[in-house]
């Protein structure tokens, strides 16, 4: 069945990005705020179309673009992340100088790439979306032209990202060779023992996985993360920490959920994912202990959270994984919003020491940032605790008790480095009497929405869980 509205979310985003680019070229306005509001309108209307599409299963291009509920829910997560980032941009862009006008169009392109990846079951289309997302991400990382770190981040991201894309294509080729089809469901059939092509299919799957692991920032494919987060503009880093990760896990779920559900527990795929999970739980948590830059710290933290997400994949529980992703969106974007709040004219203040005394200088900002950090560390009654608890319990139910113990020990280590930031905020005096920054309403909106998400989902996630359950029903 073909219904053209399936194209609408993408069309809005792409058209919006192009319009903004043209405006940027011809309108010599110093104030880029209009771009922000326009971008926000495009993001929100694309999200509205996604909401309308719920339960309608619109498809286009012979089903290679299909708005199923799973894709819609994940797409909405990404849309929300992008909307938050646009709001952060409203504060950040005026501070960062004039060369950053392409910020909003690039963000819209990145979002459209993510939406493509989420709303298809055709691996070639997934690759198409991956490239749209990646290429705009490379440019976004390098937007701070006057800063060498930003250029380094862009280059590093570009080189490693291209490599990862190549690996993904290689995996695509192998799996096409095995199954003569780009469809994900065809891939499974060849993995069954006795099909004759299971080795080829498995090799293909492994390479696809490696390509995705780069996007999800899973150890050992995580090397780019801290450098890119540190160099990229802070709102962009916020997007990187949520967007590509959510997309990567969504595709991984589409790839593996049926496999893991079918009792293929002891096969090579399971072993591979276990190794990745173990590494991702250990390495970033230890590395984060020694960080002095808040963005690098949050980068390692985002890698560590990929470890918990992998645990959910291993447990074969897509419901809890999606819940974790949503919670992660709120707490992580909230944390990055607090970092953005500290930015000054032409100056990002990113070392942990910059936060000294913040807790009492700007009590609300300090309190909110602490809530996000405590949620990331998994303290109740925040949503971070509930998300971890759900993932741990489904992993334990799946018989992965040793992994769960490793994960709780990892989160014990993480408590140390998250609280280290709180220590600096509340237990060190401010180095000099700095004037308190006036915060933009857009930024405050992001902070309070994230706070609402973190608390609401921590205490009463019932309605959301119901939605998630309906969304993941598509997978099983």
């Amino acid at each position: 069945m073909t219904s053209w509205p399936a194209l609408l979310p993408l069309a809005i985003l792409a058209a919006g990005a192009l319009i903004l680019l043209v405006f940027e070229a011809f309108l010599k306005s110093r104030n880029k705020a209009y771009q922000g509001y326009a971008a926000l309108a495009f993001v929100v209307s694309s999200g509205a179309v996604l909401i309308v599409a719920w339960d309608r299963d619109w498809a286009f291009f012979r089903g290679s673009l299909r708005l199923d509920n799973f894709g819609i829910l994940l797409g909405l997560i990404l849309t929300a992340a992008a909307a938050f980032v646009v709001l952060l941009g409203l504060r950040y862009v005026p501070l960062a100088g004039s060369n950053i006008g392409e910020f909003y169009p690039l963000l819209l392109f990145a979002l459209s790439g993510a939406v493509i990846m989420l709303t298809t079951t055709n691996l070639l289309v997934v690759f198409l979306g991956l490239e749209v997302l990646s290429v705009s991400s490379y440019a976004l990382a390098g937007l701070r032209l006057h800063d060498e770190k930003s250029s380094e981040a862009a280059l590093k991201y570009f080189l490693l990202g291209s490599f990862a894309s190549a690996v993904f294509v290689f995996g695509l080729a192998l799996s096409f060779g095995a199954s003569k089809s780009f469809d994900i469901s065809a891939l499974f059939k060849n993995l069954r023992p006795g099909s004759g092509t299971e080795v080829l299919g498995l090799a293909g799957l492994a390479f696809l996985l490696a390509g995705l692991a780069f996007k999800m920032a899973v150890v050992p494919f995580h090397m780019w993360t801290p450098d890119v987060y540190q160099g990229a503009p802070t709102p962009v880093a916020a997007f990187f920490s949520v967007g590509p990760k959510a997309v990567g896990f969504a595709v991984l779920l589409r790839l593996t959920a049926p496999l893991l559900g079918e009792g293929l527990r002891d096969d090579a795929l399971h072993g591979l994912l276990t190794v990745l999970a173990v590494l991702t739980l250990i390495v970033p948590n230890l590395a984060a202990l020694r960080q002095t830059d808040i963005k690098r710290l949050l980068a390692y933290s985002s890698i560590a959270h990929a470890g918990y997400l992998l645990l959910a994949v291993l447990a074969g529980d897509p419901e809890k994984l999606v819940f974790y992703l949503i919670v992660y969106l709120f707490m992580n974007v909230g944390a990055f919003a607090a970092v953005t709040a500290l930015c000054r004219k032409d100056e990002e203040r990113n070392t942990i020491e910059d936060f000294a005394g913040l807790g009492f200088q700007s009590p609300w900002l300090g309190a909110l940032f602490s809530v996000f950090l405590l949620s990331l560390a998994g303290f109740p009654p925040t949503a971070g605790f509930l998300a971890k608890f759900y993932v741990f319990s489904s992993a334990a139910r799946a018989g992965l008790v040793p992994l769960v113990i490793l994960a709780v020990l990892a989160s014990l280590v993480s408590v140390y480095y998250y609280l280290k930031v709180v220590v600096v905020m509340y237990m060190r005096p401010a180095p000099r009497a700095t004037e308190t920054d006036v915060q933009s309403p857009a930024l405050l909106l992001v902070l309070f929405l994230c706070l609402y998400g973190v608390l609401q989902l921590g205490v009463n996630p019932g309605a959301l869980m119901h939605l998630i359950r309906r969304a993941v029903a598509v997978l099983l």
Binding site: P380, L412, M427
Partner: protein, 527 residues
Amino acid sequence: MPILSLLTFLPLAGALVLAFLPRRREVLLRGLALAVALIALGLSVGLYLSFESGTGGMQFVEHAPWLGSGIEYHLGVDGISLFLVMLAAFLVPVSMLASWRSVSSKVKEFLIFMLVLETGIIGVFLSLNVFLFYVFWEAMLIPMYFLIGVWGGARRVYATMKFVLYTMLGSLLMLVAMIILHGRTGTFNLLEYYRLAGSGDWLDPRLQVWLFLAFALAFAVKVPLFPLHTWLPDAHVEAPTAGSVILAAVLLKMGAYGFLRFALPLFPEAVSKFLPYLSALSLVGVVYGGLMALVQKDIKSLVAYSSVSHMGLVMLAVFALNFEGVQGAVFQMVNHGLSTGALFLVVGLLYERSHTRRISDYGGLSRQMPVLSAFFMIAVLSSAGLPGLNGFVGEILCLFGVFRAGTLLAVLAVSTVILAAAYLLGLFQKVMHGPISNPAVRTFKDLNLREVLVLLPIIVLMFWLGLRPGSVLRKTEASAALQVSRVTGRSSVLVSTPAPSPLKAGKFSPLPLIREKRPAEEKDADD
């Protein structure tokens, strides 16, 4: 009226209101926080008065669905938790009043954290759903972390980090154990666990061992049992007075309470294996804490080590697993809360005047500060177990319980009394008597009205509990007997004791422990 929910969340609501008040109106902030804490205290007294002493089951039960799959909102109170809740509700306003002057910066945040802490503590004692319990258990760490870290002494950051990480190490493993327990039973309902554990169709003994170890680690850190106690002297010494009081008087009880409520009754077969080791560790704690207290040069760390010693005795009594032991442990927990709370308050009052905690900087204070000296003396004697004061009743009950569990154990455990007398009276002598070595002492003023009001209620309670212990023991006995029968699987806990007539209310007797023989209540107030 959902009195338990009200009691639990009233302080939190108060904290929310405080958050929106201007920080410059300090008197308003303090007054409001104190009023909220006093209302909570009033509620807890109301709870006490309407508490029925005849039954050992849960009372005032509130039960509502929450997140599904066994996670429910389930509160209830029995004789064991009743007094711990009251202790918390009593000490929070007292320590707020005590911090009226000593906490002069960031008052708003201080009061907010105190109130949030109260909600966490009361929630821990009232939760009947293991998940809910864990939420409160962990959430309570956050305000305590800030109280030590922001208003503490010189090494406060180190101390507070150590406190949080130690506690979390234990509690995260307990979380895993809870998840596994839930996987086996499909519920987090504690009363349901009790029923299943009593029905014979319970967990495989090998699994019980692992789960018990995870629970025991979490609670042993909190108590703290030797050798997991090292966070305690640091945290106590560095915390502000209010923090030390709450920490010593209430937070440590959460460990003992956790053993009584969760670790022991849920895993009876594992308990029988580990009981000797746990008793041995408690005994080592008793002696080690006492010896360490003898050689401390800092008043606060002396009191901190005395806590290790006293809590060791409480744990010995809990692990004795008989009626007297549990009765004594609950009573002694209240006592220790009062006497150690009073000692920390006295140290705080001294510190406000002298800004030193070294024992050698004091001497001869009694002439300068007769009122403080008298209060200090009573607190010291209560802690050392002088008959007529509360400490004696608790200690003798604990020792009776321990004696029934093992004679040698009791003989060694008595050393706690001797050691306590030695280090506490030594402390009193060095601080209050002798010549004035430090000229600054001559300028010290005696207690003002507010400071008297801080200490007086505690002193009154010490006498009250010493002379009329029945007012506590009557309410705890049924619950204590029931809880013991849950652990040992025998309902006839009291059979081996001779059974004279029950104590008449109001008549003083050091032996309120022995009651008439009657079958312990099997019926549980499970709803």
